[in-house]
Subunit: 392 residues, 2 copies
C-alpha cells in the first residue's frame, strides 16, 4: 500500500502543550508508516510549501522531549486567509500529492481548516482535513475542554494561590491579578481552585460573561477589604463594563485609546479602584508567561493534547474529513476521556462562554459545579501548609 | 541548664523560601532544647508581644511542609520603627525573659535589628540579636547571595525562556518582560540564564545600574528587531533614564504621577517604544507572582535559606550577637557554601549593586562571569528541545 502524505500546521497562539498534540500525531504516523510534513510558520508555511518531514525524525527521544516544550515547535501565525490563499494552499498540496491536512488551533483556525476543505472539494482535489483543538481560552464548542486550557488554568490558579499567600502574610490593600482571556471567563474562573480555606484568595473573580460597573466592583472589593484588610481580585484582559466598553475606558483617562487600556486592564482597574475607594491597589499581569510556562503544564492537559493528536491520525486513517477531534468526559474520578470527532462547521468561528449555571449569584464568583469540571483539567492545586493559629 | 527563650520575626516582603529559614531555625532549637517564639506580623507582633510558641509544634512533618510554602508563615510587615518602638520591644522581651532575637529580612530589616540591639544594650538588657538574610533583590552586602534571590531569579529566567519560546514561534514585534528589582539589576541579569542558542531571548537586558536614554534603548531594540523580526526586552520596575528619572516619566505622559508609571514601567516603556519606533510592543509583568511562586523555588535557594536559619541558631548558641548570618561560596562545581557571620553594621541599610565587571560593554547585557555566579543559585534552566532546522 502506498504511503499517504499529510501536512500539519499550527494556527494562533501557542500553548504549553500544543507540541504534545504534534508528538501524538507524528508518533501515530510513524506507527502507521504514513508520511507527515510540518508546515513551518502556520499559514505562511502552507502558502510557500515550507514543509519539513517530521516522520523521519526521532529515535533519540525527540518527540517525548518536544511534547514537553512550550511554544510551537513548527511555528505559528495569526495571518488570516486572503483572497486566493486557499487555492494556493491546495495547489501546493496537489503539487506534492499531500492528501491529508491537519490543522491545530482554536475556533478561528477551525474556520480556516473548513475553508481549505471546501476549496479542495471545489477544485476537485481529494483532501482529508482534520482539526486538532488547541486554545488556552477553552472556548471551542462541543469538546469537553480544549488542550492548552488546563495548563494555563493551572498557572493562574497557582499564581492566585501563591500571590494570595504572599498577600496574606504582608497585606497589600488591593491586589489585582490580570489573567488571559478576552470574551470567555474560563481562565479567570479557574483561579477559584486556589481556595482551600475561608477567606483564601481570590476574593473577587470578575467574569467577562457579566458586564459590571465600576461601582458594583468597587462595592464588592471594599466590602472584602473592610473585613480582611486586603482584597485579592482576578480580572481578565477583556472584562467589559456595564456599557459593554473596555473596562475603565471612560472612567480613567478620557481620550486614552481603548487598545492601550485593553492591553493593561488590571492596572487600569487598579487606578480606577484607588481613585474611587481611596485604597491603594496594584496589579500583576503575567500575560504570555501564563500560556507558555512549561514547568506548570498540567499532566492531564498534556495527555489531552497528545490524545487529540493521536486521535486526529486515527480519524484520518478511517477516512474522516471536515471534522475536528474532540474530547468527551467519561468519568470525573478517576478522570477519563474519550476522543470523538465533530463537524468543523459546528465549531468554526463559534465561541463557548462559561455556562450560566457555573457563574455564582452576584456574578463575581463561580459555583462548585465549575470547580468539579475544572479540577481534573488542572490537576491538584493543593493548599500550602500554614502554622496553626496564625492568619488561618 | 535553663532553656533560653528566643523570638523570631520577619521583616519586608516574603519570598518563596523565607519559611525554609524559619524551619531551619526552629528545628535547630528543637534539637538544642531551647524555646523559640514567632512574632506574628513582624514589627506589629513584636510591639504587642503577639508571640506564638514554635518549638512545641511539629512531629507531623509540619516544618518540612512549612519549608516548602511561599509567603511568610509568621506574617511580615513593612512598618518602620517609630520613636519609642525599640524600647517597647525590649520591654516586651524583658517581661517574658526573651534573650535572643532573630530577625529575617533585607538591608532595611538588618537596620531594624541593629537598632533593637543598641536599644537593649542602652537599657542594660542582655539580648542576643541575630539577623537572617532574606531578599529577592540579592542586594545585601558581604554574603555571597541572599536566600530568596535564587528562586525569584529562577522564575524570571524560566519566564524569559518560555515566553521567549512562545515569541519565537509566533513573533510579536517587541515583547517586554518587566521583572522585580528597583535599584539593583540582579533579577533582570538572571534572565540571561534563559539563553542556550544564538538569538535566544532575552535580546536586550536593561540594568538599573546603567541609566539609559529612550533613544539608546530604542536603537538597540530596533537593531534586534530588524535582524530577527522580534525583540525580547527585560526591564526591571526601577529602571531610570539618563536623567535619573523614573523611566518614561517625561516621555510618555507629561503630568502623570511618577508612582503610577513606576508601578507599571514595562507597559510605559512599551508605549514609548511603539511611539518612537512605530513597532508594536507589549509588556508582561508577573510582579508578585515572581516572588511567591512555590513550584519555581530553587532547590539551592531553599537549602541556602534553611542553612541560614540553622546557622543563626548556631551563632546564638555560641554567644554571638549584633551579627547577620551570611553565606560564603566555597566551590562552584559542585556548588558548596559555608555559613559565617558579619556585623549587622556592615550590612544594615547598605545596598549591593551588580558589580561592574558583570555588566557587558554597552550596558544592556551581562558577562559570562555573572552567569557562572548565578547559575548555581537558580539551578538549571535547561533549553527546551526544538525540531532540527526550524527556527533554530
Amino acid at each position: 500500500m502506498a504511503r499517504v502524505k499529510g501536512v500539519v500546521g499550527h494556527g494562533g497562539g501557542p500553548t504549553a502543550v500544543i507540541n504534545a498534540s504534534l508528538a501524538g500525531l507524528v508518533k501515530a504516523h510513524q506507527r502507521s508508516g504514513d508520511t507527515l510534513f510540518g508546515a513551518v510558520g502556520g499559514i505562511a508555511g502552507l502558502l510557500d510549501a515550507r514543509f519539513t518531514e517530521l516522520t523521519s525524525l526521532g529515535g533519540d527521544g525527540l518527540w517525548d522531549e518536544i511534547a514537553q516544550a512550550p511554544g510551537s515547535a513548527l511555528g505559528s501565525s495569526r495571518r488570516p486567509l486572503a483572497e486566493g490563499d486557499c487555492e494556493r494552499i491546495v495547489e501546493q498540496f496537489r503539487r506534492l500529492d499531500v492528501r491529508r491536512f491537519f490543522y491545530t488551533g482554536g475556533n478561528g483556525s477551525m474556520g480556516t481548516a473548513l475553508r481549505i476543505e471546501h476549496c479542495a472539494r471545489e477544485l476537485g482535489y481529494e483532501l482529508q482535513v482534520i482539526g486538532i483543538p488547541k486554545t488556552i481560552d477553552n472556548d471551542l464548542l462541543v469538546t469537553d475542554h480544549s488542550p492548552g486550557y488546563g495548563s494555563t488554568a493551572r498557572f493562574f490558579a497557582c499564581a492566585a494561590r501563591d500571590a494570595g499567600e504572599d498577600n496574606r502574610s504582608l497585606p497589600s490593600p488591593i491586589c489585582i491579578l490580570e489573567v488571559l482571556g478576552r470574551n470567555a471567563g474560563w481562565i479567570a474562573a479557574a483561579t477559584a481552585l486556589a481556595r482551600h480555606a475561608e477567606d483564601d484568595a481570590p476574593h473577587v473573580i470578575l467574569l467577562p460573561e457579566r458586564r459590571l460597573s465600576l461601582e458594583a466592583i468597587a462595592a464588592e472589593v471594599e466590602q472584602v477589604y473592610r473585613r480582611l484588610g486586603r482584597a485579592f481580585v482576578v480580572v481578565c484582559e477583556g472584562q467589559r463594563d456595564e456599557q459593554g466598553l473596555t473596562f475603565g475606558a471612560h472612567v480613567d483617562r478620557p481620550g486614552s485609546p481603548v487598545h492601550e487600556l485593553a492591553s493593561n486592564l488590571g492596572h487600569t482597574l487598579a487606578l480606577a479602584l484607588t481613585a474611587k475607594l481611596g485604597i491603594r491597589a496594584r496589579a500583576e499581569k503575567p500575560g504570555l508567561v501564563g500560556r507558555s510556562c512549561g514547568l506548570f503544564a498540567s499532566l492531564a492537559d498534556r495527555q489531552s493534547a497528545y490524545r487529540c493528536g493521536a486521535g486526529a491520525a486515527r480519524a484520518a486513517a478511517i477516512g474522516e474529513s471536515g471534522v475536528m477531534v474532540a474530547l468527551r468526559r467519561e468519568c470525573d474520578d478517576p478522570y477519563e476521556t474519550s476522543v470523538f470527532t465533530v463537524a468543523l462547521g459546528e465549531v468554526a468561528g463559534r465561541e463557548r462562554l462559561l455556562p450560566e449555571p457555573w457563574i455564582a449569584a452576584g456574578g463575581m464568583d463561580v459555583t462548585r459545579e465549575f470547580l468539579e469540571y475544572a479540577g481534573p483539567l488542572t490537576g491538584p492545586v493543593p493548599a500550602w501548609r500554614r502554622l496553626p493559629g496564625i492568619n488561618e
